[in-house]
């Protein structure tokens, strides 16, 4: 009797396992099949979605995003959109920053996910597009006003645009205006003046640069901002992306060297300092300058409303100015969304000047739409740099060299960390990056 009961249990267990296995197998097959045919289904769903939109039924769109902190702003925008399109309600449903990719990828692989996807820029977004999870947006009204160098952020390997870039970033030098005024310092116009400014701050017991090398992304961000001082910005980027030069070149090595040149002006024990500490140093006015992205302005103002933040472009040795720019994120349409038409309406709305203005003012960030004027003086000043072709240069590692596994950007961050810690020589950094780049990179045609 005991035996028969255990036999029965075994049978039940096996059935469950078999059922699971079956389901799993089918699910995976379906996933693969549906994505393989996604290009077809995309066009199909466009035609099937058309009658749904004309029937004027209430539609609810969801936006997936990693920007939990921007919910209030997007809720406001959703209300504006609803006013113009009474049949469509939009819900901004973000996931925690560090978990967004995991959650989104899992949803997409099982044929689910939000209608509108807040797409990470460049490689991560391209991977989603290349997996056929997105609807091509070419021809969407408003897309034509976005500069082509920004559209790269959401372009698939097939050359089609899969996302509407919404916000862009710029990295440059933020400074504490009150401190500068008190010490009689002005915005430096050359690299030498920058060093003198740093010296002046240091002799007044102020940390010149709020910087730390504990987190790798700070290193590539900082290099992205100051690197052009050594390699010269756009021309070098063009040469390296077309294969005329590479990362073992003297120009690149010199750009890495700049990070070490500034070492006397970093805080004590900077190898143990991460983003939180950097921010604290700047916000509590212990540091005078910070090489950073403009998105931090809103965050730091909130932490210390009395702080007077200003910004200047990185000054080069011959008195030119340089800021590095890149796209922060784009809006894309999930190929499995049941509300394709409504989603397209929202994307078109996200490319209007009124949307750009509201978002830019609410979030204190730069819109990707060139005609948008920010209401914030500092953002307006930064936008004037990043819209100036003579000053702006793409954040090279993020825009062109974030692919590969591990990415060449990560390889760069790791080796710069090794260099600053004294484990690698300056030439080794370029060699390591080139080794990584060689595994995947094919030069673009000139």
């Amino acid at each position: 009797m005991k035996k028969s009961v255990s036999t029965m249990l075994m049978v039940i267990l096996l059935t469950i396992l078999a059922a699971c296995g079956n389901n799993g197998g089918n699910g995976a097959n379906e996933g693969a099949a549906s994505s393989a045919e996604a290009a077809n289904t995309a066009t199909e769903s466009e035609t099937t979605a058309a009658p749904e939109a004309t029937s004027e039924e209430a539609v609810r769109l969801t936006i997936g995003s990693w920007r939990t902190e921007d919910k209030a702003a997007y809720d406001k925008i959703a209300a504006q959109f609803h006013e113009q399109n009474p049949t469509i309600t939009v819900e901004f449903a973000p996931t925690k920053n560090t978990e967004y990719n995991t959650v989104l990828n899992t949803q997409l692989m099982t044929g689910e996910g939000p209608d509108i996807i807040h797409l990470r820029p460049y490689v991560a977004g391209k991977q989603v597009a290349d997996s056929n999870f997105l609807v091509p947006l070419d021809g969407t009204p408003g897309l034509e006003q976005i500069p082509s160098e920004l559209l790269i952020a959401a372009t698939g390997s097939d050359g089609k645009v899969y996302g509407a870039p919404i916000l862009k970033n710029a990295s440059l030098i933020l400074y504490n205006k009150q401190l500068f005024d008190k010490l009689g310092l002005t915005e430096p116009k050359t690299w030498d003046e920058l060093i003198q400014t740093a010296e002046a701050l240091k002799s007044n017991k102020i940390v010149p640069f709020a910087f730390g090398s504990k987190e790798g992304w700070i290193l590539s961000l900082t290099h992205g901002a100051i690197g052009p001082v050594a390699y010269g910005g756009n021309d070098f980027v063009k040469q390296i992306t077309t294969g005329q030069t590479n990362f073992t070149s003297q120009a690149f090595t010199d750009s890495v060297q700049l990070l070490k040149d500034l070492e006397p002006y970093y805080p004590d024990n900077y190898e143990g300092i991460g983003m939180d500490d950097m921010r604290n140093l700047f916000v509590t006015e212990q540091a005078g300058m910070m090489i950073m992205g403009d998105w931090e302005i809103a965050v730091m103002r909130k932490m210390n409303p009395d702080l007077q933040i200003d910004a200047f472009p990185v000054p080069t040795k011959d008195g030119q100015a340089s800021v590095s720019t890149w796209v922060d994120g784009s809006f894309a349409i999930n190929v499995n969304s049941k509300h394709q038409e409504a989603a397209k309406k929202f994307i078109a709305f996200a490319l209007t000047e009124s949307f750009g203005t509201t978002l830019s003012n609410e979030l204190v960030r730069q819109s990707t739409i060139p005609s948008v004027q920010s209401g914030d003086e500092l953002i307006k000043k930064i936008a004037s740099f990043s819209n100036d072709a003579a000053i702006a240069t793409p954040y090279m590692f993020n825009v062109y060299f974030a692919a590969g596994n591990p990415s060449s950007k990560t390889a760069f961050e790791t080796s710069v960390q090794g260099y600053l810690l004294g484990k690698l020589k300056v030439e080794d950094v370029g060699a390591e990056v080139q080794k990584s780049v060689d595994t995947w990179f094919k030069p673009l045609s000139q």
């Binding site: 699971c20 990719n101 024990n269 500490d277």
Partner: protein
């Protein structure tokens, strides 16, 4: 009716049907277990034999992902580097955490005053979330504002104050030490349970023979707490070879600084989910292969170890 069924089966005289009904109760738990654990394991196993185009499964490639992990630069370097860190994690956890836990357990076993209070106090950190522990210790270990360095400087040990988490020579050790502080209470409880299970008459007999101190530990305690030793070793091994949460909470998943805190689990996480930076691409095939390797290491070593140590257990 159901009341009767329970009563009868308790008496052991239930009908066959009632026996079956009773055995169906674990079913919901079993279903959840199968879906969440068994299915995921089987799926990861299957995924590891495919190449992946971004997020979609591509062609069947057999053992290619495994071959890549073991033979191709930089994957092989990263793998051995991470595996070495797991082994170091295990060694340090065994010596420091379990060593200290044994000493504490032995002191409590010999009935010091307030043993119960000490037991609770030492176990207390275990009640906090690992994320909270990681955050608190990050503040304590901060090179410029942290309590540890401030303390060291105050007592004149300026040269000892360093960037604990920023220096590749100290970062991993610092994390493991925090882990040991966190885990010592748990090991203590297992040791203590083992010690208290030693039959009183044996202890009494040893006392009468005049066996004391280290000799008592070596001759009486050591052979009789082998089961506790096996449990603690297996737990520590599993824990060290899947070390992730604390490393993630204190350093993120990039193995920073300079790959000095990379473990198999963070390496897996970067491949399967793209790492903490959010902008990286994923490689699900390699990630799944790593998960399978981790599973193999943990299950094979644990099983072999338990079988080998069974010989040394003393039958009472």
């Amino acid at each position: 009716m159901s009341h009767n069924a329970v009563n009868e089966s308790v008496k052991g005289s239930g009908s066959r049907w009632q026996q079956v009904v009773i055995h169906l109760f674990p079913l919901p738990a079993l279903v959840i277990y199968s879906v969440v654990i068994v299915y995921s394991m089987v799926a990861a196993f299957g995924y590891s034999f495919f190449s992946w185009k971004g997020l979609t499964r591509d062609a069947f490639v057999g053992l290619d992902n495994f071959v890549t992990l073991f033979t191709q630069e930089p994957y092989n370097e990263t793998f051995w580097n991470a595996l070495g860190h797991n082994a170091y994690y295990f060694a340090l956890e065994m010596v420091v955490q379990n060593g200290i836990a044994f000493m504490l357990a032995y002191v409590l076993y010999t009935k010091v005053k307030g043993a119960e209070w000490f037991k609770s106090a030492i176990f207390l950190p275990r009640l906090l979330s690992v994320i909270v522990i990681g955050f608190l210790w990050k503040l304590i270990l901060n090179p410029n504002t942290g309590v540890l360095n401030t303390f060291l400087k105050t007592i004149g040990l300026d040269s000892w104050a360093m960037s604990w988490l920023g220096d590749p020579d100290t970062a991993l050790t610092s994390i493991i030490m925090v882990n040991n502080w966190f885990g010592v209470g748990f090991s203590l409880l297992i040791w203590l349970a083992g010690l208290q299970a030693i039959p009183a008459e044996i202890v009494e007999a040893a006392r009468l023979e005049g066996v004391k101190g280290l000799k008592f530990i070596r001759m009486i305690v050591a052979p009789l707490i082998v089961p506790s030793f096996v449990i603690i070793t297996v737990f520590s091994f599993i824990h060290a070879f899947e070390a992730f949460e604390l490393v993630y909470a204190m350093q993120g998943s990039q193995g920073e600084p300079y790959m000095s805190t990379d473990t198999l689990a963070t390496y897996f996480y970067r491949n399967a989910f793209g790492g903490t930076s959010g902008g990286d691409s994923v490689s699900i095939g390699l990630g799944s292969a790593l998960a399978v390797i981790m599973f193999a290491i943990i299950s094979v070593v644990s099983t072999v170890f338990m079988n080998v140590t069974r010989k040394y257990e003393v039958e009472l």
